[in-house]
């Protein structure tokens, strides 16, 4: 059990960031967010394996997963509300914060 998963974690994280920064579809943004979350969970579990405290790491991972679900749920609700207003999912329409 000494596989080095760190590069994978970083790749996964980088993919999430890339997705967040480039995609204009809101559901794609959700996917990017999820990828970030999964990279984090993986990092936590793997650190627990390395440190030989798997129980502790697993309990942390449980929490991250639970929070992640809530984030996703809210995000989806927001997407729904946004779609009701503007009838599409393009972030280019989310420009009301422009200064």
């Amino acid at each position: 059990m000494s596989e080095n998963l760190l590069p994978y974690v970083f790749v996964l994280f980088g993919l999430g960031l890339f997705c967040l920064l480039t995609q204009r579809n809101l559901i794609k943004l959700l996917v990017g967010l999820e990828l970030l979350g999964k990279a984090t969970t993986l990092a936590i579990v793997w650190s627990g394996v390395l440190r030989n405290t798997p129980d502790y790491a697993q309990s942390l991972a449980l929490m991250v997963i639970a929070i992640e679900v809530m984030v996703v749920a809210i995000f989806l609700a927001l997407i729904n509300a946004f779609h009701q207003k503007s009838q599409n999912l393009d972030t280019d329409d989310l420009r009301r914060l422009k200064g």
Binding site: M1, E3, L12, I27, V31, S59, I67, I74, A81, Q84
Partner: protein, 158 residues
């Protein structure tokens, strides 16, 4: 073994990002989640694995697909090309085969290592009792927020 799973995982992550169809990308994300749970099993963290599989691959996907179907019901239906369906089915079949194959050591009861459920629960309730309660509150408020957001807006929809 883990490296291979991780490679599949990365592949599906790239797919999730690049696929133009939102439904496809969400399904790919579900695959990523399922693969991640396998990685957890392989790393010896079955509790996290079970959670990841049920919540990450199951619940989130269901929610996302539901939302997409809600949205697309109101939109003009786009025709999905048949070839894509075929590719997708093959990919799904390969994925399921791989998953079952990877999980097979645990399928026979004799080879399942003792899962220490109690230890995780111990840690969760004893050591992390402090932030468990705020977490519950966060979930509760999130539920309320979703209820507010999903309220039908009769006035503003034309």
């Amino acid at each position: 073994m883990t490296y291979l799973t991780m490679a599949f995982l990365i592949l599906f992550a790239v797919l999730a990002i690049l696929l133009p169809s939102t439904l496809m990308s969400v399904l790919s994300l579900a695959a990523v989640s399922a693969l991640l749970s396998i990685v957890f099993f392989q790393l010896g963290a079955p509790v996290a694995g079970v959670f990841e599989l049920s919540v990450g691959a199951g619940l989130i996907t269901v929610l996302a697909v539901l939302t997409i179907s809600f949205i697309q019901a109101r939109k003009v239906k786009k025709q999905i090309r048949t070839e894509l369906w075929i590719v997708a089915s093959f990919a799904a079949a390969a994925l399921f085969f791989f998953i079952f194959n990877s999980l097979s050591p645990w399928v026979s009861p004799s080879s399942v290592p003792p899962v220490n459920w109690g230890a995780v629960g111990e840690v969760l309730w004893r050591l992390r009792a402090f932030d468990l309660l705020p977490q519950a509150l966060v979930i509760l408020s999130a539920v309320l927020g979703i209820l507010v957001l999903l309220r039908p807006e009769k006035v503003e929809t034309p």
